[in-house]
């Protein structure tokens, strides 16, 4: 029997969708009865989040649920997968998966030695102690903890100060006043109980700025060594996990909105005008930097924006 190692940084067995995706794949592959077992190492219990890329592309790690932007230092193109305003909403994320943009990204992934078996776009939100973050000028002068370098660039352009800290410190940061605002995934907004200190939440909705690509990757080296039956089982399990994720991630957003409303936090969404204002700002900051830093970067962004 072949044993594969799967690693991710999210809490294991606690209902985190990314963990559940990997668990599902492990269960389905076992059920396919193709002599394949997947051992899951959740919560960074094997590799540190950033080290997973090196390990999976080298074939030391077999599978990972990996926020692709973490490898953007090695493949700057990946910054586009945590780029403000490039996704917008879940339905568009699905269309994006089949676009030329993602074909280009996946080509980089494959050339590096890994392959995507399940797409996953995670949504996120903003919350503040001061007031509602809608248009760019509502953030001016606030200290915010952002998730992702491209976001930091845009938020700085909007006149915010950035404080970097692990997500586990956000709660204390907002409590003591080190932070005025935070930007992170919807799941973290619930699990870290930020509603106790937030005054207003900007939920993803139809015009969401923050999306992060966190696919399930398999090492190509390892995959090629498997039998055709085993390969088929993995791909089938990946497809199923992808569908599961797409459904659950929307429920997660709803759960966040409900939790915050129940806690008496004002919940708003960005209007189309707000979104466009941010997009304009992003074009002058994050997109511009990306185009300068990455060869063919502007073309990549255009391809993403061209998706309907």
């Amino acid at each position: 029997q072949t044993v594969l190692k799967a690693s991710h940084q999210f809490p294991g067995g606690k209902g985190d969708i990314r963990d559940e995706m990997v668990q599902m794949i492990a269960r389905d592959v076992a059920a396919a009865d193709v002599d394949l077992e997947i051992q899951i190492f959740p919560g960074s219990s094997l590799y540190k989040p950033n080290d997973q890329w090196n390990a999976v592309t080298r074939g030391l790690l077999d599978m990972t649920s990996f926020p692709l932007d973490y490898a953007s230092g090695r493949h700057p193109e990946f910054s586009a997968t945590l780029m403000p305003g490039l996704v917008g909403n879940f339905d568009r994320a699905k269309r994006l998966n089949d676009s030329e943009f993602m074909t280009d990204i996946k080509k980089v992934i494959e050339d590096a030695g890994a392959m995507v078996i399940a797409d996953a776009w995670l949504s996120g939100a903003f919350a503040s102690k001061q007031g509602c973050i809608t248009s760019p000028d509502t953030l001016k002068g606030q200290v915010i903890r952002a998730a992702g370098p491209a976001f930091e660039e845009m938020l700085v352009a909007a006149g915010a100060s950035i404080s970097s800290m692990p997500s586990s410190e956000i709660y204390t940061g907002m409590q003591t006043g080190v932070l005025d605002a935070a930007n992170t995934s919807s799941a973290s907004f619930v699990s870290y109980r930020l509603f106790e200190h937030a005054k207003c939440l900007t939920a993803p909705g139809e015009n969401a700025l923050w999306f992060m690509y966190e696919p399930v990757l398999v090492s190509k080296k390892v995959f090629e060594r498997l039998t055709p039956e085993q390969q088929k089982a993995i791909l089938a399990a990946g497809e199923k996990a992808e569908a599961f994720f797409d459904e659950e991630v929307r429920k997660g957003d709803q759960l966040m909105v409900d939790t915050y409303k129940k806690a008496g936090v004002e919940v708003v969404e960005m209007s189309k005008e707000d979104y466009d204002a941010w997009l304009e700002l992003a074009k002058q900051s994050s997109y511009k930097n990306f185009a300068e830093k990455v060869e063919g970067g502007d073309a990549l962004i255009e391809k993403a924006l061209a998706v309907q």
Partner: protein
């Protein structure tokens, strides 16, 4: 010849230690600058976090050879205490050899890591995006120096009468109490 090697390596380790200390001081000052910028002037801080993390981490690897020179990496001395002087010296030699083996392994591994970062022009994924080879250089440098320092220690242990001349490498005292009186000297 041997004496000169031991002295030179010791001095080189001290040089690394000075570099390490400077990096720690810089990390401290930059942290304070970052706090000042953000909470007094409300200005965005872009490079500070990366700088602080990488300089402090590099400092640890660069300082390691000097700490070895000063006997500051703690180990178990229970077995040693039970042995005769002669067996104790032999055990120390075995320990030094094993330490050298580990440092050689890590030198190779960290060189591979550094070289890939250098050749691939890897950057840290952050807004500042500093090239990773700069902090990663501290690892092969530190482990190379550790290897040289271990060789010096082994020479001290195997050359008769050497520790009378240079007892420094084997002062088996924890780092924290180095600068206090009554430092035990080898051989006890």
């Amino acid at each position: 010849m041997i004496k000169a090697y031991i002295r030179w390596i010791g001095n080189l380790s001290r040089l690394f230690a000075i570099l390490s200390t400077i990096l720690i001081i810089l990390a401290m000052l930059v942290v304070c600058q970052m706090i000042l910028m953000r909470y007094v002037f409300r200005v965005a801080t872009i490079w500070q976090t990366d700088f602080v993390v990488f300089s402090a981490t590099a400092a640890m690897f660069l300082g390691a050879p000097y700490v070895l020179l000063k006997g500051g990496h703690v180990g178990v001395d229970v077995i040693e205490l039970l042995l005769s002087d002669k067996s104790r010296a032999r055990l120390r030699l075995v320990g030094a050899m094993l330490g050298l083996i580990f440092c050689v392994i890590m030198l190779a591994a960290t060189w591979v890591q550094f070289h890939e970062a250098w050749a691939g022009n890897w950057k840290h994924s952050s807004v500042w995006a500093p090239p990773l080879w700069i902090p990663l250089l501290a690892l092969p440098a530190g482990f190379a120096m550790l290897c040289l320092q271990y060789v010096a220690q082994i020479l001290v242990l195997t050359t008769p009468g050497m520790h009378a001349v240079v007892h420094d490498p084997l002062a088996a005292v924890p780092a924290v109490s180095q600068n206090q009186s009554n430092v035990k000297e080898y051989p006890r």
